[in-house]
């Protein structure tokens, strides 16, 4: 049976893992390679490394950090932040990543999605969508949550799928870093609108939040960062509790 994935996210500022609340107030949370290895050992199904300051600071992807992190990691490894061209994506794959996420640049130039998909396969392209509720709408924001686009998140997810995205990484900006639970309504709207898997992100705080996003949010995977960094054993414990709640997950080793 296909299991629900628990993905540990490392938000990095170039070479260090950082964590903020609603995309602000960043604080240091450790070394990406060490944390990735520890999360993998604790039972994480995937590692995502997002350089959250690459786009606003107009930096290239952090290839040295990617290389170091990928070196002894034998689970899927995704890198995002600052991917502007096919060449950026190629250099990230060369450094040892399996997938890239594209976000800001893909909104400005959606053909970036198809060009990466054609060269490296759809499975290698995740379109990251940062969404914020705006009255009845779900609006897409870019540049690490700094710029509103006026674009509807569900429509953008569908367009991304048509252009060759292999997965959607959907972050609720309203919930990000709050530990108040995933936005299940948002997740379900997007998950029901596309055929590709949807990774829910933003708001994880308790085991019950994961149960809800898999059941009510129809998420295929859930991503969290802050709850994992300060207590590495929590992924194994989270998975045991999810199994007890009847959610299919890969048992921790």
């Amino acid at each position: 049976m296909l299991t629900k994935r628990i993905i540990a996210c490392l938000d990095v500022d170039g070479s260090r893992v950082v964590k903020g609340t609603q995309f602000l107030n960043l604080r240091d949370a450790g070394d990406p390679a060490e944390l990735a290895a520890a999360h993998s050992a604790a039972g994480a199904d995937e590692i995502v490394l997002l350089d959250i300051t690459a786009t606003p600071e107009k930096r290239n992807p952090p290839l040295e950090t990617v290389r170091r992190t990928a070196k002894e990691l034998f689970i899927p490894f995704t890198v995002g932040g600052g991917v502007r061209t096919l060449r950026d994506a190629a250099s990230i794959f060369d450094a040892g990543a399996d997938k890239v996420t594209v976000n800001s640049r893909a909104l400005a130039d959606p053909s970036l999605i198809s060009s990466i998909a054609q060269r490296f396969g759809s499975q290698a392209v995740i379109v990251a969508i940062d969404a914020k509720r705006n009255r009845s709408n779900l609006e897409v924001w870019i540049s690490g949550g700094r710029v509103a686009t006026g674009k509807d998140a569900v429509q953008w997810a569908q367009e991304a799928e048509e252009r060759g995205a292999g997965e959607i990484l959907l972050t609720s900006m309203d919930r990000d870093g709050t530990c108040e639970g995933f936005d299940c309504t948002l997740t379900k709207m997007v998950s029901d609108a596309v055929r590709i898997p949807v990774i829910a992100s933003g708001g994880a705080g308790t085991t019950q939040h994961f149960v809800e996003v898999f059941r009510e949010g129809a998420a295929d995977a859930a991503l969290a960062a802050s709850i994992f960094h300060f207590n590495l054993r929590s992924i194994a414990r989270l998975k045991q509790q999810l199994l007890s709640a009847g959610i299919p997950v890969r048992p921790p080793c």
């Binding site: 049976m1 296909l2 299991t3 629900k4 994935r5 993998s40 199904d45 990928a70 070196k71 002894e72 034998f74 689970i75 899927p76 794959f93 060369d94 450094a95 040892g96 399996d98 054609q118 060269r119 490296f120 396969g121 759809s122 499975q123 290698a124 292999g166 997965e167 055929r195 590709i196 898997p197 295929d220 995977a221 890969r250 048992p251 080793c253």
Partner: protein
């Protein structure tokens, strides 16, 4: 020396990294002569079946066929395994190696596609060399939109919108639909088994 066949489709870095980690001597090559010389051949594959055109147009196809005939252990991963069949619905005009006459097909409409994530293996053949020491129900990582049907050579099955071949083995020919290089300790065990074949 294990030749990892580079046909300019996707990403070979992680396959090489995993084999190197296991202490194998590897070379990533697009040279048919290097492939023919190797003691073992790995054909990775991510992406679209049409990428295998490069194998058909470069002399690599004949090198692989010759090596297989000589009994050299050969492992196809993901699209690399699919290419061992006659063709795929994904690109029906492109010929596979046709070691089996069957076709790769897509998933039914009722399930999400691609099939992405960790799914369990039902090991069907206890005598398999590739699956030695891998217990039934072990989880491995899949990411694919097309799949190989169940064959006589199927040694492990997977269930997702129906059953399909997760792994095949016949004499010196091995194929896995999942990514052993991305499947943690279980995947490394399978790669290590291949290295010992």
């Amino acid at each position: 020396m294990i030749a990892i066949v580079d046909y300019k489709a996707g990403n070979l870095a992680s396959v090489k990294k995993a084999l190197d980690y296991l202490g194998a001597e590897t070379i990533v090559t697009d040279d048919p002569w290097q492939v023919r010389k190797a003691d073992k051949v790995v054909l990775p594959g991510v992406g679209h079946f049409s990428a295998t055109t490069a194998l058909n147009n470069s002399g690599l196809r004949e090198s692989i066929r010759t090596s297989i005939r000589r009994g050299v252990p050969f492992l196809g991963i993901c699209v690399g395994m699919q290419w061992m069949l006659a063709s795929s619905e994904e690109a029906p005009q492109i010929e596979g190696l046709a070691l089996w006459p069957d076709l790769c097909s897509s998933f039914p409409a009722g399930v999400k596609s691609p099939h992405v994530g960790w799914n369990s293996l039902e090991v069907r053949d206890d005598a398999s060399r590739l699956m030695r020491g891998v217990s039934a129900g072990s989880f491995v990582y899949f990411t694919h939109s097309f799949r190989v049907p169940r064959l006589k050579a199927t040694i492990a099955e997977c269930e997702y919108g129906g059953r399909f071949s997760a792994a095949i083995e016949q004499d010196n020919i091995f194929g896995v639909q999942f990514h052993p290089e991305k499947s943690g300790a279980v995947g490394l065990k399978i790669l290590s088994n291949f290295c010992q074949c």
